[in-house]
Symmetry: C2
Subunit: 354 residues, 2 copies
């Protein structure tokens, strides 16, 4: 198989972690006789520094022309502390999602048994948890009109959904539910928001069509609570952009660490694969970041973008074997982990390659 | 002290639980020689059934004329499953919050040592947690303009804040931080939302004035994650209406159960005291609901509305003593709780009164 893969390291630890996602793709290509060619492009703070633009045209063109994209992370504290900045790293990520039509963000909560103890949740609460989030990614209050009045006394963002936007992501979630345990939970705030009431109506309509899937509706506040109380009760979770952002970060604690979770954004064209973690500038360049989320993002690429299930499985198994052998990065180590089992980014990446 | 207290039981388990909040207030009045007089009014589904209006004028008038309000719960599954219903129970609650100017919702996460084991979080993660949430309650996407187009293909809600709305709640949170460990965490999504950027600017400005308070800003996705990972790191948490709704429900798992958490809504006039749990129609009328959140809401009323700290403390101590003696309602029992220690609503209420 011949594929062009674009690597966008982005900001902070993005550089370090994508290195290992790429290495893993290379190794798989050799072993299975695929021809993966790689190109690189800039985005986010890195791109603002170089060009003034968080998503340079060149990056967007390369992205559109590639078969899949492996992305690192975005963001910089400089902008977080300066709410009045007009140009911001995150605009790059939001724009590429919109331009590539990446309306469906899949976030599997993959729980490695070896990491049961790394979580703040009790092992008996966690054991057996297997959730697949479908987060809508190109609508909601993220992309609605923003306003600030002249004397800075008022600000607004329009939360909004079109019926077709809800329908296309819901359809993907229902299809996935069919291949899993046929349970779908749609999360909204229909007791308060008009947007959520439209959302719920559309999901209810589709539920009739997918009558083999058991569909449940839950309010976001309740879902945020249930996810901690009893994560096992969830299987496929479908939700809007903002609620999905919040719930999936929360759910990362089920997997022990944000450093473990990969995501796939798909839609109209080229797929986009990235860890759910941020740029973590505080540890960037220190060989401390966990490369597993990037490596697992590469696995999702093999699986979802290229249909290479066997190759994807091999990567996930390599990660599991490395964890089984006791190797940990700092974020997933616990008090009982022996110091000589705690690895840096490079060493962990190399272990998985072995 | 002479006070007029309005009881609004609301829907579902609201009736059962407010009975015990009221009993506790009565007992305190006798013991400390206060004169508490009680009136009752309807709201929510109950009020729709009786009058067609989720907040009848009579209820609003009584509310305005009272010195404090003890509220139960709101909501009904009938409306949850019918997103197109125009009249909804929750409108009653939202309207009374707005009409009484209850812009600050205080939600203390009170962790009784006896319930450390009732949580899905590890006891060592929980121990020592003490959080006070300040949730803004009369602004945000809850009250912004709602739209639905004619052919039902589009819906929107305007998320918005005025500077003065952010300032008045932030000030309350900073004042509270001064009386606690002088740490404040403000939660927003300033990397995406204009509303959040205004929010952050205002909090940054006030932080200069309250320079003795250590102020931190956190994104909502990160906060939802950190709350599970390491709840102890939070003290006073300040946030907007929607984010506060989500975070406080999530945080209820720290206290073991939603059935344990009380809240106080204050602002321009009469204070409003209510459990954070919902109407739980599935267990309503079955003597299964946990009355402790309503009893603790009564304690908050004594403390915040009437300035009766000693009386409030006595109520909290009575709850602690009851838990210490091993008594539990179903929601806070665990696998090791002996069956004869599990009480119904009435029996638990009576135990606390003793
Ligand atoms: C960086 C930020 C804009 C982004 C989001 O909110 O979508 C991130 O939190 C994510 O979840 O991918
Ligand atoms: C019932 C609902 C409107 C309400 C809210 O979202 O504010 C509830 O969840 C709460 O937290 O008090």
């Amino acid at each position: 198989m011949k594929k062009n893969i674009l690597i966008i390291p982005g900001d902070g630890i993005g550089q370090e972690v994508t290195t290992w996602g790429k290495e893993v793709l290379n190794t798989i290509a050799q072993k299975y006789n695929h021809e993966f060619t790689f190109d690189e492009a800039i985005m986010g703070h890195t791109a603002i520094e170089a060009t003034g633009n968080p998503l340079p045209d060149e990056t967007l063109e390369k992205a559109k022309a590639s078969d899949a994209i492996l992305f690192g992370a975005i963001g910089h504290a400089k902008y977080d502390n300066d709410p009045s900045a007009k140009v911001r790293p995150e605009q790059g990520l939001l724009k590429i999602r919109k331009e590539l039509g990446l309306y469906a963000n899949l976030r599997p909560i993959l729980l490695f048994d070896e990491l049961l103890d790394a979580s703040s949740l009790k092992p008996e609460v966690l054991k057996g948890t297997d959730i697949l989030f479908f987060r809508e990614l190109t609508g909601d209050v993220y992309f609605g009109e923003k306003n600030r009045n002249e004397d800075n006394t008022f600000a607004s963002d329009l939360m909004n959904y079109h019926r077709y936007e809800v329908e296309r992501i819901a359809r993907k979630a229902f299809e996935a539910a069919r291949t899993r345990s046929k349970k779908l939970c749609s999360v909204d705030k229909a007791n308060v928001l008009e947007t959520s009431r439209l959302w719920r109506e559309v999901v209810q309509e589709l539920a009739k069509e997918y009558s083999d899937v058991e569909t449940e509706h839950m309010f976001i506040d309740n879902a945020a609570m249930q996810l901690v109380k009893n994560p096992k009760k969830f299987d496929v979770v479908l939700t809007a952009n903002l609620f999905g952002d919040i719930l999936t970060d929360e759910a990362s604690q089920i997997a022990g660490s944000m450093g473990m979770l990969a995501s796939a954004s798909v839609g109209d064209g080229t797929g986009f694969f990235e860890p759910i973690h941020g740029s973590a500038h505080d540890i960037a360049g220190q060989n401390k970041a966990n490369p597993l989320a990037s490596i697992l993002s590469a696995a999702l690429m093999l699986d979802i973008a290229f249909g290479l299930q066997e190759e994807a499985k091999e990567v996930t198994n390599a990660v599991a074997a490395t964890l089984k052998a006791g190797w940990r990065t700092g974020d997933i180590a616990n008090a009982e982990t022996a110091a000589d089992k705690i690895l840096g980014t490079k060493e962990m990446g190399a272990k998985v390659l072995e």
